[in-house]
């Protein structure tokens, strides 16, 4: 019962925050409400017994990515944009997208529930220990490849920034 109450409250807050992100005129307000949305999503993660991932979410998204966004917004001193929705039939397209995703998700969940509802019976499901063990044994190669990706991104960013200075 408590779980349902917490879920509904934080789901509503998530939707509210993300609506503010896509509709507010001021980019700084967008970034701030995005922090809130990520926090509320982290609460949902804790509800799903993914504590480690929730902490990662707060650290990386709210801590690193949003700071990068805010830094860029303030660095460039962006004025409020002229809001004009020139895209045609946007409501129809978005509704179409929602129906497709929801139907696909419904069938996927049917598939999951047909294979037997398995509540996580592992001891300390989603803790740092269990996630870390999986990450460093079974998924070691993808984990190392993501570090390669990070290095490539760093080199790319440095190259882009240098070129802009030269011209």
């Amino acid at each position: 019962m408590t779980e349902a109450v917490v879920f509904y409250i934080f789901a509503a807050l998530c939707i509210f925050g993300s609506i503010i992100v896509v509709t507010h005129k001021n980019p700084v307000a967008c970034a701030i409400s995005m922090v809130l949305t990520f926090f509320f999503t982290a609460v949902l993660f804790i509800l799903l017994r993914a504590q480690f991932v929730a902490v990662i979410q707060v650290l990386v998204y709210a801590g690193a990515i949003i700071v990068l966004f805010l830094f860029t917004v303030m660095f460039l001193n962006i004025k409020e944009e002229a809001m004009e929705f020139d895209a045609k039939n946007i409501a129809k397209k978005v509704t179409f997208l929602f129906v497709i995703i929801a139907v696909t998700g419904f069938f996927a969940s049917k598939l999951v529930l047909n294979s037997g509802p398995k509540p996580p019976n592992i001891e300390n499901f989603g803790s740092v220990e269990s996630v870390g063990r999986d990450l460093f044994t079974e998924f070691l190669l993808p984990f190392e490849l993501t570090s390669v990706l990070i290095i490539v991104a760093i080199i790319g960013v440095v190259t882009i920034a240098r070129r802009s200075k030269g011209t």
Binding site: V21, I65, I78, A102, P119, L135, L149, V152, S164
Partner: protein
Amino acid sequence: MEITLNHYIILSSILFVIGAYGVLTRRNLIVVLMSLELMLNSCNLAFISFSYFLGDLTGQIFMIMAITVAAAEVAVGLAFVVLIYSHNYSLDIDILKLLRG
């Protein structure tokens, strides 16, 4: 009243569609990037909920990978934003039509 997988999938698709709406309608490049982050976040929520209801940790591992990719994407994207701004002194998305050959 029990919260099932369907609740999480509906929530995740609502968040994804809100993000897609932002990508399609906003004209500020930075806010477009933010809406992309929202879409990625909703995908992460779907990963975590499937991971919980299947009792399998693979979804959480995937979500950590997705966060890494999102961080790299934001870094490169914001570098491009700064570059575009220093060329044009504007971040209106219509500027990018210069990319048309």
